[in-house]
Amino acid sequence: MADEHDHDHDNHLSETVLRVKALESLLVEKGLVDPAALDAMVDVYENKIGPRNGAKVVAKAWTDPAYKARLMADATAAIAELGYSGAQGEHMVVVENTPTVHNLVVCTLCSCYPWPVLGLPPVWYKSSAYRSRAVIDPRGVLKDFGLTVPDDVAVRVWDSTAEIRYLVLPERPAGTEGLGAEALEALVTRDTMIGTAKVMP
């Protein structure tokens, strides 16, 4: 059974590859798309826009109290100060983790995600498992990530139902007082800014 399904799956995938090629070739022939623009778009999301952007925002907020104040008051503008803006991050809100509050971001209706600061979402974020359970069983979902949130810490789930995009400002770990922004940035992973992980020193 397993083999048979894998085989089906492989066939299916190679068909998909052919269909995408045929579609691109048709759209190019019709003048509807320019292959160089497609290359550029792939390049942007593979190489230019990703979670390192968000990590820079977080590290700056940790080390620059005035920036943090601007970030919490108007995240879109504060994030644009660092050069990050646009598609799927037009209207940003930052939610801060504290010793008593843990935030988690989801989009139950599709897969809305703050692209300018985190890049394209990982497969798990787009999965039915995550989308369905994050709102009804966030603590169970966090356990799937190895994170147990104590009962006296409030879990706040942000369901991205409109064009507001959420970035979690994780807690700065203890013992990092001596580190500068660049060293801190390296500690900040994608998942800590979605809320499925804590930053480890």
């Binding site: 590859v17 269909r19 995408v20 090629k21 579609l23 048709l26 759209l27 022939e29 019709k30 003048g31 509807l32 798309v33 320019d34 160089a36 623009a37 497609l38 290359d39 550029a40 778009m41 792939v42 942007v44 230019k48 803006s85 646009g86 598609a87 037009e90 209207h91 139950t108 209706l109 599709c110 300018p116 890049g119 394209l120 990982p122 497969v123 798990w124 999965s127 039915s128 498992a129 989308r131 369905s132 359970r133 994050a134 709102v135 009804i136 966030p138 603590r139 979902v141 799937d144 810490v153 409030a154 879990v155 706040r156 789930v157 942000w158 139902t161 409109a162 064009e163 507001i164 998942d191």
Partner: protein, 219 residues
């Protein structure tokens, strides 16, 4: 629509399975699909809400079975056909219908990054005054639109509290149907987990949703 995409609160999809060192794309065709759909979008024949609805209206078994980029591919084809950018016959033969003139100019490479950095803000200025204010109790309406909506089933009929006013934003329910932007106030609304899921939920937990004025009543 009460589609299978509206899956908040469902059980049965198994554990969440993060992938270590996940690549941005798992195969080159995924990146091509992302780029193709966005490059087609640059013709402005549809908007983001109509785009989302084209995915929501895939056959439900396909919606659950297909990967994210497979759904984007299906949606790109559906939208391009619907907007007349391509014909069914062109899709089947893979060849341009010679009676249709070549379109020009498409989005070019130099415009890609500027377009991405600009994005498509949905905030709109309005002369209207907001109906609700932070701290106010509201109830999500019990409505079951058959078209596109961003009011998930799991909050309908439930009591929440206005957390924040985001000003007026394009209203997806009308925009997806090309019936106009109908901008209206958008609010972040806080629902306690117990209000949504019953006594078994942790008393301090809450879910926040961004909901338009037409989705809300005074509680």
């Amino acid at each position: 629509m009460n589609g299978v995409h509206d899956m908040g609160g469902m059980h049965g999809f198994g554990p969440v399975e993060p992938e270590a060192n996940e690549p941005v794309f798992h195969a080159p065709w995924e990146g091509r699909v992302l780029a193709l759909r966005r490059a087609l979008g640059a013709w402005r024949k549809w908007n983001i809400d109509a785009g989302r609805h084209s995915i929501e209206t895939l056959p439900p078994a396909d919606y659950l079975r297909l990967s994210y980029y497979e759904k984007w591919l299906a949606s790109a084809i559906k939208l391009a056909l619907g907007a007349g950018l391509i014909t069914q016959r062109e899709l089947e033969t893979g060849k341009r219908d010679p009676s249709v003139p070549v379109a020009t100019p498409p989005l070019t490479a130099d415009k890609v990054l500027p377009a991405i950095l600009k994005g498509g803000p949905t905030h709109r200025e309005t002369a209207a005054t907001p109906r609700f204010a932070a701290g106010q109790a509201v109830r999500a309406r019990e409505i079951n639109p058959t078209g596109h909506t961003r009011l998930p089933r799991y909050v309908r009929g439930r009591r929440g509290m206005i957390e924040r006013d985001h000003g007026a934003h394009v209203f997806p329910d009308s925009n997806a149907r090309f019936l106009g932007e109908n901008p209206q106030y958008l609010y972040t609304v806080r629902f306690s987990a117990r209000e949504l899921w019953g006594e078994a939920a942790n008393p301090g937990d809450a879910v926040y949703l961004d909901l338009w004025e037409d989705y809300l009543d005074v509680a």
